[in-house]
Chain length 693, copies 2
């Protein structure tokens, strides 16, 4: 598919809407049933080019499939998985039926070839999809293209007809960026196989194509090394992936069109290596696995040749496990303290005419890049590696700001953007969604800017367990996936949230646990009490943002993550809806909007008493009492503001300032959560006395 085929999305949607409206009336005539006006249901990422028509294909258990052209075991497994997902979405069985001729087939897959033996960013992921009332036709150049088409097809299934339908549609699709990733840090908190596998399933559903595994850290060495078994034996508390498991992850990912890029962070963030191998360090040991979070001193000694021999042997072993052409060496947050304090290292700097410690790290990076190069790998590192003398061909992953991405590109390096995609910052989906990858200057183009490979969302592991990690990744990552796949012009935030709601349910159906685990956690917090009041509170609080949590208490990886802050979603959907309601009310003051706002405010005001009865014997909830009381106060003030607005009173001059100060005072945070409705209540208060709309 050529760039010229990709019509402007907005004008397309305009045409589509007209067509859908016409089609609807036809359908209404023909079957007497109304049809949803959003026939895309929960499509995300939105295809590059899509055109709906009026008819629908009935989806029942009978879906004979014919493959034309290339077929292989991976494609067959993909079809099995697709049918299992259909069962999850519809509650009906879908036996794997095979059609012998295209006429008998309900789904015809035309696949031109297998695609790359080892998937790279150059893999052709494009596909076209055409659904009519009789048949689905999916065409792709590669198996990965078929996978992407099946993922779209799944998202099109929706209630209709006698049960479920796929709407008539014509799609031409291909990604804007070739590197669309998720980093999972399995070091700070261990994440076992099941977590990786279910997140790979969910990643494939939104067409992501890179799993970046952060495998070594101060807090844990999470890979079995047979060459240097002291690494995982002494550095992991027994929590590591065996080589067999890693191979299984790589194969599982490949079945989903996902590359696995391993990261071995060095020369800093290496405490766990040094527990079993103190001889690699720039200062004498012994070392112990780090339990706290932060930046620590332990560091490799880059002046010793033995280090490079060790790394050569280690990377040789890892190369046999990870076939991906890229290998990530971290390179971030070297504080240089051990280097400064070590006279031999200082002597080395002089001898080699290295002006400073940055130059020493650059020297280390050049040596490591050469080793990786020998093993056929391209080196990737965090943006700290962007020193003078970084060998061409390396890839820079920008995390400290998008400026470093611009710099890397200017200097001829390929770049990946992670700044603005940090899931652990607990920011709203809309923030990540609008994090455009195009360097500043010039309006975003739907074609990929040169040298920007794509982006990666980062799920750092300080505050996530296997129980909570899904809720920090999903559904927000789906919005990032759309930024990375879809044309830049697709950026309507309200429409994104409408679809994200549906995508969240779909991901739940195929095994992601962002919804189910939350319910369990609230039940645990409530003990033997009903969870109603706790749910009301939990729905309007969010974990504190950025790195505020680390300041709240001395966390280690032994600290239980089982409190309200862990059950709270990064983004309160109730707060978002409340904001929309208030915005609508302030611009029009309908009685309906007023009732809805007052109902919410009253439920928050009256919730405190109900919750307090549960808190009496639920110790994990004790810290929540001030939050609940503050919500009560804020809601009471919000109701006052509503009364004042609706009676068109002009309160005394001090009223507004006093109320705003009271709200500010109630903002906390307590218990490491923010009350997410505060900003909107402030808006209400601030609007008091403004001109009537």
């Amino acid at each position: 598919m050529d760039r010229s085929d990709v019509a402007d999305y907005k004008s397309l949607m305009r045409i589509t809407r007209i067509r859908v409206v016409c089609g609807l009336s036809l359908l209404l005539l023909s079957c007497g049933r109304s049809v949803a006006d959003h026939r895309d249901r929960g499509l995300m990422p939105m295809p590059a080019k899509i055109e709906f028509a009026a008819a629908s294909l009935q989806v029942d258990g009978h879906l004979p499939i014919m493959i034309v052209g290339h077929s292989d075991a991976r494609l067959q497994r993909a079809i099995d998985q697709f049918l299992q997902h259909l069962t999850a979405y519809t509650g009906q069985e879908f036996p794997h039926g095979v059609a012998d001729t295209p006429d008998q087939a309900k789904l015809v897959i035309r696949c031109a070839g297998p695609g790359q033996l080892v998937q790279t960013p150059d893999e052709d992921e494009s596909y076209s999809l055409r659904v009519t009332a009789e048949q689905i036709q999916l065409n792709a150049a590669t198996v990965v293209g078929v996978l992407r088409g099946l993922a779209t097809l799944e998202q099109l299934v929706q209630p209709g007809g006698n049960g479920f339908v796929i709407p008539e549609v014509s799609i031409e699709d291909k990604p804007r960026f070739v590197w669309r990733g998720l980093l999972i840090d399995v070091c700070r908190h261990w994440q076992p196989m099941a977590v990786i596998q279910r997140n790979l399933d969910a990643m494939a559903a939104v067409k992501l194509n890179v799993l970046h595994l952060h495998l070594t850290e101060d807090q844990g060495f999470r890979v079995e090394s047979r060459r240097f078994p002291r690494l995982h034996e002494h550095g992991s508390d027994g929590k590591y992936f065996t080589q067999e498991q890693l191979r299984k992850i790589v194969a599982y990912a490949r079945d989903r069109g996902i590359r696995v890029v391993p990261e071995f962070d060095m020369p800093g963030h290496t405490t766990s290596w040094l527990v079993g191998h103190p001889e690699l360090a720039a200062a004498p040991g012994p070392y112990r696995i780090e339990r706290r979070w932060g930046v620590f001193d332990p560091c490799f000694d880059p002046t010793r040749e033995a280090l490079y021999e060790f790394l050569d042997a280690f990377f040789s072993e890892m190369t046999a496990i990870f076939p991906d052409p890229y290998m990530h060496i971290g390179g971030d947050e070297v504080n240089g303290k051990q280097w400064e304090a070590n006279p031999q290292i200082q002597a080395f700097l002089k001898r080699e005419s290295l002006p400073d410690l940055h130059a020493l790290q650059a020297y280390f990076n050049r040596r490591v890049a050469a080793i990786l190069n020998k093993h056929g790998k391209t080196m990737v590192g965090w943006d700290e590696i962007l020193h003078e003398g970084l060998p061409q061909g390396c890839v820079v992953q920008s995390w400290r700001g998008s400026e470093s991405l611009a710099q890397a590109i200017e200097r001829g390096f390929d770049g990946i953007l992670s700044s603005g995609f940090y899931l652990d910052h607990q920011r709203p989906a809309s923030f990540h969604y609008l994090n455009e990858l195009q360097p500043t200057g010039g309006s975003p183009s739907d074609t990929r800017p040169a040298r920007i490979l794509g982006g990666e969302a980062c799920m750092w592991g300080e505050y996530v367990t296997p129980e909570t990690i899904d809720s920090r990744i999903w559904p927000r990552l789906a919005a990032i996936a759309e930024r990375l796949w879809s044309p830049a012009s697709i950026k309507d935030v309200d429409d994104m949230y409408r679809r994200l709601e549906q995508v969240g349910h779909a991901l739940d159906a195929i095994g992601a646990r962002h919804r189910t685990n939350r319910g369990r956690m609230l039940h645990r917090l409530a003990g033997r009490h009903p969870i109603g009041a706790l749910q009301v509170l939990a729905a309007v609080v969010e974990p504190v943002k950025f790195y505020k949590r680390s300041a709240a208490r001395p966390y280690t990886n032994h600290t239980p993550l089982n409190r309200l802050v862990d059950a709270a979603r990064p983004e309160s959907q109730v707060a978002r809806r409340f904001q929309l309601e208030v915005r609508g009310f302030l611009s029009g003051r309908s009685a309906d909007a007023s009732r809805a706002i007052r109902r919410r405010l009253k439920s928050w005001r009256d919730n405190h008493q109900a919750l307090m009865s549960a808190i009496r014997d639920a110790p994990l909830l004790e810290e929540v009492a001030p939050v609940s009381r503050n919500l009560q106060l804020i809601a009471t003030l919000g109701l006052q503001a509503m009364d004042t607005i609706e009676s068109d009173q002009q309160p005394g001059a001090d009223w507004k300032a006093g109320v705003l100060a009271a709200i500010e005072n109630a903002a906390g945070p307590h218990a490491e959560v923010d009350i997410a409705v505060i900003a909107t209540v402030k808006t209400l208060v601030e609007s008091v006395g403004s001109a009537k709309p």
Copy 2:
């Protein structure tokens, strides 16, 4: 533990309560926190002898364990699983820490020996458990006893202290019955490994010890036979357990102290055998896998010697997979039509002086029992096998009524009760809970009546898929497990429901899907609409009872089970609470009770309109409209009754009859669901005009 050790539960509880109350005040003094008055939280089955005291053991991630006496790999795996469950319950990590001396240990396990190499009903499952503020001591004669003790220990974990505690307690426990089972029918709807494994986990949590796998049926032959591969190749649609999977199930069950008893139903219910082996049939083929539900004609020909040679070889193969000393041959529902119509069989009857077809089945059973006996197996069959001449030593499983159990015992056979334990009948937990196994006459004894091995709940497969089966089994099976394990005197229904609520959450936490899948199903039904209104309706409807569903439409195993009836719980807890509220109100008429009842009735009355907006484009909900309308009507009439009662009016003579008739008329069923609050609204109406309490 001797019978004399088991004190009367009620007097025990009386003492315990006093102790707890005293203990509470001490604890209140010492830590200023109130403590739940039900320190048993969600214990089920209730131990034979239990005594709480005042203190608590703090449960944090540090739980060093010491094993004294016997240890083996099974015990180690049990400890790993126990620690994983603790993580699920508390949200904290529990590394497997080992203590070298009892002083350092927080959990001391004293295990006298491994127990039986192949578990039988004679296995010693008793244990004693003592928890103090410092240490847990668990003593058992066997590994299975330890498993039972760990299951109790898990259930004792509860919010308290700084997080979670186990209350100080002393327990002596052993089961009343030695055969406590669940039958899962994997034939009518296929149930894959994951379903079996998660249900084994849940069974172990409530101390059940037999998984009865119903492996062959008219609708499917679900076992790989290498000796006769046409059986599974032609009889299963590819849905069967491989021998490797079956061995895995047996091992997985053994790790949980659960025996696996396979059932190969014969001579009727054998259509799926005959697809690949028509020569076994009493009428000429060809045969096709049955898709409907019911009793069908196809049947083995018991007059042919080749049949017994075939079965001998087949059972020989199965014996190598299933080590259990019992093997189940079904034997139910032979309609005899093929036998009647076959002249050779009629001639055989004459030649062998067999008076009728029952005698022919008895002949068949004797032959099969001899074959099983040769392979070291005891034959079990449904109560139809209780003909004259049934060899002594066979076991009779009573399903048609408890009279057959009494008959079997009278005639010297061991018996298992399933009548009254059919989960597919969708009856309330209380019904199953009060289904006493003691034959009528004489008050139930806490010791096991002679020859009654125990009971089995039956999960027949006509109306369950992998998605819905958990909701039909759990949590009701936990109440049955208590009937089978605990002393007969433990039968307080309200107390059972209080604990069942907690057990339901605990089972959810360890992987049972009765809660999570229901939420997904409601979202699917609602499509892109919020599910609030649907939840209100779903919470007060129940699937129709007994076999009524089969009369509602022509079901086959292709019929999707994705409707409201499938998402509805067998027992509405909202309806139960409403009933308790109305009962309370009618006996006391408090303003609080009135408010609560009116709130519920209004929410049901007002729900219809909200739901109707969703139904417009959710085809699977269309059938639900009359149910919702009827709920609205019934709630409106209930509110009328409340008004009348509270105003102390005496309505006209016809009022009550008219209202009751209107309710009866609205009772339906529609959409194969019952409105579960109808009986209670009727009670309200009937009480109008009664004397004021």
